[in-house]
């Protein structure tokens, strides 16, 4: 059964490579150690193969304090991507935010408090307070302003922009 051709030659790596009890134990120990360490490495490799779950990296960007936003008025805010947002405080106090870029040709809309609507000066596009186009080329194309998600921390009285 022994694979050793020449038993008289001691192995250099394991000098006592005979079948005494001590050497059998030593070899068993070495074998277990090897199996464990390469097994651990194999475990790392398997873990590597499972891509990290992209936990939705939710970032909050501080926009301002709650009382800064006057009802019926729009407040511009530039986010980290450079977009100019318009944040409008509705008569009931609810805050809504929109990207001010007109979906028609990319001009910037502004808020008109009297009519409670967004107006694009380039081609007379009108949007209501929910950002839905009511007149002009955007209305013909059925386009709306892109809405952003705001988060109001009532206790702290602070307003955040949620970025995904």
């Amino acid at each position: 059964m022994t694979p050793f051709r020449n038993r008289s030659v001691p192995c250099y790596a394991f000098p006592a490579m005979t079948s005494s009890r001590r050497s059998v134990l030593a070899r068993a120990l070495a074998g277990v150690g090897l199996a464990l360490s390469y097994g651990l490495l194999g475990g790392y490799f398997v873990a590597y193969l499972f891509p990290p779950r992209r936990t939705a990296t939710r970032r909050r960007l501080f926009v301002g304090r709650r009382e800064q936003f006057r009802r019926g008025a729009a407040h511009p805010f530039v986010d980290q991507r450079g977009r100019t947002l318009l944040i409008v405080a509705r008569p009931d106090g609810e805050l809504v935010g929109f990207d001010s870029t007109c979906p028609h040709l990319g001009c910037h809309v502004h808020w008109e408090a009297e009519s409670a609507s967004f107006v694009c000066p380039c081609h007379q596009g009108f949007f209501d307070a929910d950002g839905v186009a009511t007149a002009g080329p955007p209305a013909a194309a059925g386009q709306s302003l892109a809405r952003v998600t705001l988060e109001v921390d009532e206790r702290g009285g602070t307003v955040f922009l949620q970025e995904s």
């Binding site: 694979p3 051709r5 790596a13 360490s37 891509p51």
Partner: protein, 350 residues
């Protein structure tokens, strides 16, 4: 148990005695010296490269717009990605060192001489293959340094006589380094070179086995009868196993202490003010600074061919010019010192 054994012997008709005989190849006594493992070391590292390389391709994207990003994601986000990349990086560097040391040992012990000339040639091809791996792999990261390194290397190839322009076009997939080049380097790195390397390794090992390991006797060792050789299995295999563990340890320490960096992304429009290849091409880079493009390319080619064909060249010189064979040692020392000088020079003056 008996049925299982019968099933195995029937489905796997292997003659175990013959296999044992095959494994018990007698290897010379000197292989018991620990440093006499430079043949097994590159082989072990090659296996590491194959395993880590296959794993890296799970996340790598060979596209100019995504290559660098995928490496960044792999390094920073994927679990153990940094470790795998570092293992691959350091095993590559160690492999080049190990192959070079193996070559030096074979050269200075005269083991390349008759009847092993062909195996020397296969060995030099393996070295070339290893350097090709290093070069293409480095370029795949697609950082500024590797992109412009590829550009310089392609110009070097272009300067080769006769085949240069065609070879450069084939290598780049056009007249410039572009997205095509990245695809090609990827194919070279994970398809062509591994296949060539596996085939060459097979030939190399088959020839080692057929010729037997060159016998070297040290003057301080008395010729003990009966101990001229010992069986490869399990004795030398055990040594190689331990060396494998030691190598993993060294690789992990290097991965932790000196993880490979990720430079700025390649920008074909902006040449960095200071470019330098990986250390194993320092000699070529320094030569390029010392002489003209043509001279350095021709010189590298001539020296490369001389190394490749040295067993035969030595024979011819011996026969025609009565050059003593020991002169090879002097030439080898001079050649290696030259390589070392250029490399060290470039690393300090670079």
């Amino acid at each position: 148990m008996a049925r299982l054994r019968r099933f195995l012997t029937e489905t796997l008709p292997v003659d175990w005695d013959q296999l044992r005989e095959l494994g018990a190849e007698p290897v010379p006594h000197h292989l018991k010296h620990w440093w006499w493992c430079l043949g097994g070391t590159p082989l072990y590292l090659f296996v590491v490269q194959v395993v880590t390389g296959i794993l890296l391709t799970f996340y790598y994207v060979p596209d100019p717009d995504q290559a660098w990003e995928s490496v960044a994601r792999l390094t920073h986000e994927v679990r153990f990605g940094w470790y795998l990349r570092a293992l691959h990086h350091w095993a590559a560097n160690l492999m080049i060192v190990a192959v070079m040391l193996h070559l030096l040992r074979v050269f200075f012990t005269g083991a390349y001489r008759h009847p092993r000339q062909l195996n020397w040639c296969f060995g030099v091809l393996l070295l070339a293959c290893t350097l090709g791996f290093g070069f293409t792999g480095y370029s795949l990261v697609y950082e500024q340094m590797s992109f412009w390194g590829a550009t310089v290397a392609a110009n070097l190839v272009e300067a080769m006589p006769l085949v240069g322009p065609a070879a450069a076009t084939l290598m780049r997939g056009g007249s410039e380094v572009t997205g095509n080049t990245l695809t090609r380097f990827f194919v070279f790195h994970i398809g062509l070179f591994p296949t060539a390397m596996a085939a060459l390794l097979l030939l190399h090992l088959a020839l080692v086995r057929l010729h037997g390991v060159t016998r070297v006797r040290f003057s301080h060792e008395d010729d003990r009868p009966g101990e001229a050789s010992f069986p490869f299995w399990p004795h030398h295999a055990a040594t190689e196993l331990l060396i494998g563990v030691l190598l993993m340890y060294i690789l992990t320490v290097l991965a932790l202490a000196l993880p490979p960096e990720l430079g700025p992304k390649a920008d074909p429009l902006v040449t960095p003010p200071h470019i330098q290849p990986e250390w194993y091409f320092f000699f070529s880079f320094r030569l390029l600074k010392l002489t003209s493009l043509q001279t350095s390319v021709h010189l590298t080619l001539v020296v490369g061919l001389l190394i490749f064909a040295w067993p035969f060249v030595e024979d011819l010189l011996h026969r025609w010019l009565r050059m003593p064979r020991e002169a090879s040692v002097v030439l080898g020392v001079l050649g290696f010192l030259g390589f070392l000088t250029l490399t060290v020079w470039e690393s300090f003056a670079g």
